[in-house]
């Protein structure tokens, strides 16, 4: 199939694919352009001049609420979720390589964590905190709520990684006299490092963009997505788009940095 001449099927599907990509990126680029809207411009085209007015507006507290604070909270929360997700998923992935009591139950609990509607988890954690007498906060209840969303992804990825991981490498290391810690640190870890970076990226971005689970669990202070969600109902100026552009550019930078890290790790492994 793949070494024949390009068929009509190819061109039809290629056109379909290009349309799909335009569908994915078209609206995003509209926001990107409109965030440079002139001072008198509105929420839609045409552009009334070009300015950085709306970006400057972002940093005025009264215009958009607490953008700087919510960004900081989301950033810290994302990093916390990322670290815990990587460590816990890695450990769970290692555990699932052996048979143990309750392995199937735990696996399906992780899958359940993925399919249970976010708002139910949000409501449940909110009610639990209320009944126990704890005050919900972004670094406690929302932190836990985010983990129920990022961990299943991390666990499933690690599960898939170890499914394809040949035990022959570890046997070889052990035959050469390595202890089980040495085997893990010098053989297993470098081989799965790119996947771990991927899990970290998932952990961070899913948390950074999450808001359905944060809704009832963030307490007094909003995370960035909650701030944006609030703005959709009461902000009618392009400052909304400026915020969208800033967070999207930030997400893109995170993705680029991660890809760079994966390539770097892969190349270093190839050299040694």
């Amino acid at each position: 199939m793949s070494h024949e001449k390009r068929t009509l099927e190819f061109y039809v599907l290629a056109a379909f694919f290009i349309l799909f990509v335009l569908f994915l990126y078209g609206p995003l680029s509209a926001i990107l352009i409109l965030s440079f809207q002139g001072e008198t411009g509105g929420l839609t085209f045409p552009l009334n001049g070009v300015s950085l007015h709306w970006f400057a507006n972002l940093f005025e507290r009264q215009a958009v609420g607490d953008f700087g604070g919510s960004f900081k909270r989301s950033l810290v929360l994302g990093l916390m979720v990322m670290i815990v997700t990587v460590v816990v998923s890695l450990l769970a992935g290692l555990a699932f390589r052996q048979k143990f009591r309750g392995a199937t139950a735990l696996f399906y609990l992780a899958v359940a964590s993925l399919v249970v509607p976010s708002i139910i988890i949000s409501l449940g954690i909110g009610v639990v905190f209320q009944q126990v007498g704890l005050r919900p906060a972004w670094y406690t209840s929302a932190f836990g709520a985010h983990l129920t969303w990022t961990l299943p992804f991390g666990v499933l990825i690690m599960f898939a990684v170890f499914n394809r991981f040949s035990p022959a490498y570890e046997e070889a290391a052990r035959d050469l006299g390595a202890t089980s810690w040495q085997t893990f640190a010098h053989v297993v870890l470098p081989m799965i490092a790119p996947s771990l970076i991927g899990v970290g990226l998932f952990g961070f971005t899913l948390s950074y963009d999450e808001f359905a689970r944060t809704l009832m669990t963030s307490g007094t202070f909003n995370t960035l997505p909650l701030e944006i969600y609030g703005m959709t109902t009461n902000v009618t100026t392009p400052v909304l788009y400026a915020l969208g552009t800033v967070t999207t550019v930030f997400s893109f930078l995170v993705i680029l940095a991660t890809l760079g890290a994966i390539l770097y790790v892969g190349r270093r492994r190839a050299r040694t």
Partner: protein, 303 residues
């Protein structure tokens, strides 16, 4: 004779091995404990709590432990609830059909028509990147496109195709479905792409040699083998749509309802027991759907 020779060796190795085995037996429990603890505290416990609270009494200020079934009879006895559930299921069905169609052909193109692995990965990343950006921003980004003075309407009016802007593009059920397809198609593309990549290509040659046409190969070879991927994608899309409140709220402009949106409104009125009863019903419905789909596919084998 060999048996006699091996015996002392086994005996000598035994103490050391026993130690390792007893340590090794605990290891998986220690390794899986953090995951079990976190999911227990932030998934199981809250769900149990919701089930308990759904039987409680409440007024405008607080809730009171009790064992009432009125929350359920209120939920199940109201015509509005049934209409909302039907509406949510309708969204799920439409979005599922569209994402399955789009997702399958995108994955098919990537898997069978792109010749180099590097190009496959690049194009796959192009599809993945928007998924890693904010959902709300991606929703909002439709406003300048679909709005009354948006790109589509102003183009259509300028071309003289329509006399005045089309009103149903934004803040309508159409907008909700469009935004959901935009947000969730990747959840179909990824698992289907994954299964397609694992199909043994020699099967196509075998089918061709046996006289199958292109459509027959697609229908009798590719689609049956892609079913597990479609099933996993279906689980993602269906559960995401069933749980959605933000897309429905933002894109319909308050003109349409979903179960989760109804719950959210009850929560903002502090009617937690009512929201909890709704949550239990929604959870049962979603879990029934998922177990139904899991009969088709064993997730553990597909990873």
């Amino acid at each position: 004779m060999t048996v006699a020779l091996e015996r002392p060796a086994i005996a000598a190795a035994k103490p050391a091995r026993r130690r390792r085995v007893s340590l090794g037996a605990v290891t998986p429990y220690l390794q899986s404990a953090p995951l079990a603890l976190i999911l227990g505290a932030f998934l199981l416990l809250p769900i149990i709590m919701i089930a308990v609270v759904s039987f409680w009494d409440y007024d405008f200020a607080a809730m009171y432990p009790d064992f009432l079934t009125t929350n359920y009879s209120d939920v199940l006895g109201s015509w509005v609830t049934w209409k909302t559930y039907l509406n949510t299921i309708k969204f799920a069905a439409i979005v599922w059909a569209l994402t399955l169609f789009i997702g399958f052909w995108v994955a098919y193109f990537l898997a069978f028509h792109i010749r180099t692995t590097a190009m496959q990965m690049v194009l796959f990343l192009v599809c993945t990147v928007p998924f890693l950006t904010s959902n709300i921003i991606r929703m909002i980004s439709w406003i300048p496109v679909l709005g009354r003075n948006g790109l589509i309407n102003s183009t259509l009016v300028q071309l003289g195709l329509v006399p005045k802007p089309i009103e149903w593009l934004l803040y309508s059920e159409f907008a909700v479905v469009l935004a959901m397809v935009h947000l969730y198609t990747l959840f179909m593309v990824t698992p289907i792409f994954n299964t397609l990549m694992r199909i043994d290509r020699s099967l196509f040659e075998a089918a061709r040699d046996a006289g199958a046409s292109g459509w027959q190969v697609l229908w009798n070879v590719i689609i049956p083998l892609a079913k597990p991927g479609m099933a996993i994608g279906t689980i993602f899309v269906v559960t995401l749509v069933m749980a959605d409140f933000s897309t429905v709220q933002v894109m319909s402009g308050g003109q349409s309802a979903s179960v989760a949106l109804m719950m959210k409104n009850q929560m903002s009125l502090l009617q937690y027991p009512a929201a909890a009863a709704n949550a239990v019903v929604l959870l049962v419905l979603v879990l029934l759907m998922v177990t139904g789909i899991l009969r088709i596919v064993d997730i553990r084998k597909e990873l």
